[in-house]
Symmetry: C2
Subunit: 405 residues, 2 copies
Amino acid sequence: MAKLEGKAVVAQGGGPTAVINQSLAGVVIEARKFTQVSRVYGAVNGVAGIVKEEFMDLTQETTHNLEQLARTPSSALLSTREKPDAEYCARIFKVLKAHDVRYFFYIGGNDSADTARIVNQNAEAAGYDLRCVHIPKTIDNDLVINDHTPGYPSAARFVSLAFMGVNLDNRALPGVYIAVVMGRHAGFLTAASSLGRAYDDDGPHLIYLPERPFSLERFLGDVDRVMGQHGRCVVAVSEGINDGAGEPIMTQLTKEIERDAHGNVQLSGTGALGDLLANEVRQQLKIKRVRADTFGYLQRSFAGVVSDVDQNEAREVGEKAVQFALWRDVDGSVTIHRTGNYSVDYQMTPLAEIAAKTKHMPDEFINEAGNDVTPAFYGYGRPLLGSGMHLPTRVRAPRVGKLLG
Amino acid sequence: MAKLEGKAVVAQGGGPTAVINQSLAGVVIEARKFTQVSRVYGAVNGVAGIVKEEFMDLTQETTHNLEQLARTPSSALLSTREKPDAEYCARIFKVLKAHDVRYFFYIGGNDSADTARIVNQNAEAAGYDLRCVHIPKTIDNDLVINDHTPGYPSAARFVSLAFMGVNLDNRALPGVYIAVVMGRHAGFLTAASSLGRAYDDDGPHLIYLPERPFSLERFLGDVDRVMGQHGRCVVAVSEGINDGAGEPIMTQLTKEIERDAHGNVQLSGTGALGDLLANEVRQQLKIKRVRADTFGYLQRSFAGVVSDVDQNEAREVGEKAVQFALWRDVDGSVTIHRTGNYSVDYQMTPLAEIAAKTKHMPDEFINEAGNDVTPAFYGYGRPLLGSGMHLPTRVRAPRVGKLLG
C-alpha cells in the first residue's frame, strides 16, 4: 500500500477544556515525525477557520512552545460554535482538497464527530483520499462508547475541590448553600460534587441531575429534612435539571431565552437558576441564610486545577489519532476504554457510532430517590481526579466540661 | 516579673479563608511549648462558643492532625457572624476568667480585633491579668497598618488564576464576560484579577472597584470601546461597587434586601449583580454573547489553590502572637510589614489601632479612569501569589497563505 502523502490539519471545536491543548500537542508532535506528512496546519477558530482558509503552520512551531501550550487551558487555536450542515461540510472539504490536506484531526464533542463524519463522506464521494479522525473532548463527559472523555476529569477535579471547600465553609457558617454545575444533558460533572466528601456528614447532601425529573416540592422537602438532620445543607444542582419532559427548570423563570446556533437555551453565564432555587428555599422554608453560587466558566478553563490522569490521556488521544491514521490508514473517533482499576486503552471507533449521540449517567450511578449518587459512582469517578487530591480533616480534640452552666 | 500562668483560648471569627487553620496550628503548636500555659482550648464557633463554654482541649490534639488541619481550608473551630457588644464582651470575659484563661488569641478581621480590644478592657477594669491578641485574617485585605492580611494572597491567587482561564476561554469563544468578585468595601481582591494577565491584550480589560463611583453609562461606554478594540471584553467587577454615596449598585435591583447582624446588605451568594450588568450590555449595546459569573464562596475556601507565601505567613502570625504574648507580655494585634521585595516582618500593634477600621485600595493602585489598576499594583500583588504560578502561552506559528481567496 502506497503511503498517503500530503498535509495534516488539526482544529479545535466547541467549548474549551483545561487539557484540550494536550491533544493539540499530541497531534502536532506525533504528526511531525512522519515524512509523508508535508506540513501540519492548525485551523484558527475550528471549522470556521477552515472555510476561511485561516491556517497557521504548526510545522514551524517550537516543541517547547507546544509543550507550554499543552499546559495552557482553553483552545489555543481558538474555537467556534458554528454547527456545519451538509453545505458547510462541502466547503470544508473543498478547502482541505485545495491545500492538499490528507489528514484531518478534529478535537471536539459529538457535534465535531458529526462534522468529521460528513466531511469524510464528501471526500469519499469525490474519490479523494482523506483520513478524518475525531479526537474526543468534553467536560460534559457525554460521548457514547467512551468510558469518559478528556476534559471531564479536570473539570470533575475542579468541581469536587470546589464542593470540598464550600462544604467546609458551610460547616463553619451554617445555612443552605446551593451551587449550579455545568452539564446540559448529562449529570456526570454535577455528580463529581460527591467526590470531595470525606466525612459521613459532608456535603453536598443533595445532588440533582438532568437524568431525573426535578420537582420543586421534593427539592424543598429534601432541604427541609437535611436541615433538620445536620442544621445545614449543601446542594449540587445541574444547570440542565428539567421537568422530565425535557423542559429546563431554567425556562420557567427567564423571560428572554437566548438560544445558540444549535437551538440550545443558554444555561451557563447567568446566576438565575441558583437565585430562583435560593429564593424558594428562603420563602417556602423560612430559612434565613441561603446562598447560591453558579460555578460557570471557571469549571472548564481554570488554570492550575488539572487532573494528571486527564493531562496524560488528552495527550495520548491526540497522539493515538495520528498513529491510527498514519499506521493503520483508517478514519474514526479515538475512544477511551477502561481496562482496569485504573488503566485505559484506546481504540478507533467508526465516526457514525459517536457522531451526534449523547451519553447519560447510567442508572447504577444514581440513587433511588434521585437526589444523590451511589457508591458505584465513587468507583468510577475517583481514579479520574488524578494524584495529589486534597484531604480535609477535622479537629479531634476532646470537649472540655462546662464550669458556669 | 512573675510568669502569667493559666490557660490559653484560641478562636476563629468571621468569614473563613484557605489558610486560617495555619494560624490556628501556629498558635496551638507554639503555645503548647510554654510550661506556664496549662491548657490550650479551642472555642467552637468563635466568640459564640466562648459565651456558651463550648471548648475543645487542643492540648490533647495530635501534632499530625494539627498539621493536616493547617492545610484544610475554612475555620476548623467553626465560626460565627455574631458581633459582640459591650454586654457580650463582658460575658466572654466572665467565661475566660471562670476557666482561668490568661491568654486569648482571636483570629479574625477588624470586627474581631474590636472584640479582643473590648474583652481586654473588661479584664483591665476587673484587675484580671489577661493577654488579648488579635491575629489578622481576611480575604478582603482591608486591615489598616498591615501591608496585607493572611487569606488575601490565596484568594488573590484563586481570582488571578480564574481570570487567566476565563480570559483564554473568552479569547477562544469571544463575547462579553463579566465576573463579580468578593470585597464589600475594598477592591484588593477584584484588583487581583489583573495579576493573571500575560499578553498585552489579555483580560480583564476593565476592572471596577468599590473605591471609585460606578456609573452604568461609563461602564457601557468602556465595554463598547473594548469590544471595538479587541472584539471581546472581559470585565472584573467588585460586588461592592457603589454610586459614590455608598449605595451599592446591587440595591438598585434587588427588591428584598437581606442584612446580616452587622447591618450589611447581602452581596455574596447571589448572581443578581452580574446578571443585571450582563442584561444592560445585551440590551443597550446589542451584543449577543454576554455571560456573567459570580465567583462567590469559591474564592475564600477553595481546596488546593493556596499561595505558599500566604500559608507561611498565616502560620507565622499565629506563632508570633504566642511569642509576643508569652515573651513580651503584651496585648495587641499582630501586623504584617513588607520590608523588601519580597520579605516581611511582624510587629505587635495596639488593638485600638486596628479595631473596626477599614483599609481601602490606595490611589496609586487605581488608574485615572477608574476602570483598571496601575503597574504599581502588580508590584504589590505579584509576590503574594506565591510560587508555581501558571504561565499561559499562545501559538506563535506563522500564518499560511490562502489558495482559494
